[in-house]
């Protein structure tokens, strides 16, 4: 076989490989997405095993936002558990308009807000946090970020919720305000308040930002 023929043959093989197997390659490149979509579909048909898989995939994200918002391990565990129970009950309403993780985040935020409205433990939590000055969420962070995490945890409830959603999780003011049931302007005002309070706290503690 001449060099040119060999090159053409190789090109043909490469072309055939790409065109024939590209769908499979896409699937292999996103195995998590395929698994998640499959689990959602099966969980929507009341398959508890599939829902457990979804729980395993997303528990760290859901618990993370619950812990950041409540600043309390026991509350965060209750909220995360409640969020998954609510998600199970509302699964038939999930139509994939947003990512499943985003949908779960919304439910988790609602769970946190609902629990805080129901109980008066928030005040106790702030007192406890002030007394101990240790943020349970900060164990997940390293170095100077622990100081920031502690400072975020000491913020007043409204400012903390907005700061966590906007600065930590990257939601826009419109998204954060929608999740928290407040006006976008209020969200901006709470962020400004959070920044001012954090700057005061971190300045006192010598945190370099």
């Amino acid at each position: 076989m001449s060099d040119i023929a060999e090159i053409c043959s190789l090109e043909a093989l490469l072309t055939a490989t790409v065109s024939d197997y590209s769908p499979q390659m896409v699937a292999l490149n996103n195995p998590g997405m395929t698994d998640e979509a499959d689990c959602i579909a099966r969980a929507q048909r009341s398959d508890a095993k599939a829902f457990e898989s979804l729980y395993r995939m997303h528990i760290d994200k859901v618990y993370g936002i619950c812990l950041r918002m409540t600043g309390n391990v026991a509350e965060a565990e209750d909220c995360a558990q409640d969020a998954f129970i609510q998600a199970w009950n509302k699964l038939d309403r999930f139509r994939g308009d947003s990512a499943f993780a985003t949908w779960l985040h919304r439910i988790a935020v609602n769970s946190v807000l609902g629990r805080m409205r129901k109980s008066k433990r928030e005040r106790d939590r702030i007192q406890l946090a002030t007394a101990t000055s240790v943020s349970p969420a900060s164990v997940a962070d390293t170095g100077e970020l622990r100081d920031l995490s502690d400072a975020v945890d000491r913020l007043p409830e409204g400012a903390r919720h907005v700061f966590v959603l906007f600065a930590v999780y990257g939601y826009s003011h419109v998204e954060a305000s929608d999740m928290l049931g407040i006006a976008p302007g209020t969200s901006k005002a709470q962020l400004h308040r959070a920044r001012r309070l954090l700057a005061q706290q971190l300045g006192k503690e010598g945190f370099e930002v």
Binding site: A48, F51, E52, Y55, R56, I59, D60, K61, Y63, G64, I65, L67, R68, V73, A76, E77, A80, Q81, F84, I85, W88, N89, K90, R93, R106, N110, A137, A140, D141, E144, L145, L148, S149, V152, F163, F166, A167, V168, Y169, G170, M179, G181, R195, L198, A199, L202, V209
Partner: protein
């Protein structure tokens, strides 16, 4: 460092905080136990209330129809205290001005209030409103055939009450209270 840079760096630093944190214990057993129970929790109190209204309306309308369809003339004893209120309905009932104003005010603000709710809550409220409005429509149809039926009039009044009450619960915006004379 100026405040803007400091703020930007604060947000940048915050964005590097851990967003995924593992709970100290596995929460699945509690979730599994909860979802294994029969799902009664999907029925919110509001939904149950609306469903009860529909059931009441359906049952009452059927009973009324069965009780009155073969009657040529109905002679009823009416307590004196109710005469004025019944007269306020008349043969050709119409919604009173106060009710229409209250309803108009609430309806105008309802969309704004709904936009503040979570998608799930909004869906629940809209579903409940649709059910109540469907019931109102059915009672109005029945009343066109029997305009003097006091039971249907009363049901209509109570259903309008339900609609206003639901709208008020969503917004809590109005203090208008509908009276029997408003219809």
């Amino acid at each position: 460092m100026n405040d803007i840079n400091r703020d930007d760096e604060l947000i940048a630093a915050a964005s590097t905080l851990a967003t995924e944190i593992s709970p100290e214990q596995d929460l699945w057993p509690g979730i599994a136990a909860a979802i294994a129970r029969p799902q009664g929790s999907r029925w919110t109190p509001m939904f149950v209330q609306a469903a009860a209204v529909i059931l009441l309306i359906g049952a009452s309308s059927s009973l009324t129809y069965l009780a009155t369809k073969d009657r040529v003339q109905v002679v009823e004893f009416v307590p004196t205290g109710l005469v004025f209120e019944q007269a306020s309905f008349g043969n050709h009932y119409a919604l009173g001005v106060e009710y229409q104003e209250a309803h108009g005010d609430l309806a105008a603000q309802l969309d704004e209030e709904l936009a503040r709710l979570s998608p799930e809550a909004r869906e629940d409220v809209e579903l409940n409103l649709a059910m109540i409005r469907g019931a109102i429509s059915q009672i109005n149809e029945a009343l066109q055939k029997e305009p003097d039926n006091a039971l249907l009039q009363d049901l209509l009044l109570r259903t309008y009450h339900e609609e206003l009450a639901l709208m008020q619960r969503v917004g809590g915006l109005t203090q208008h209270v509908m009276s029997r004379k408003d219809i």
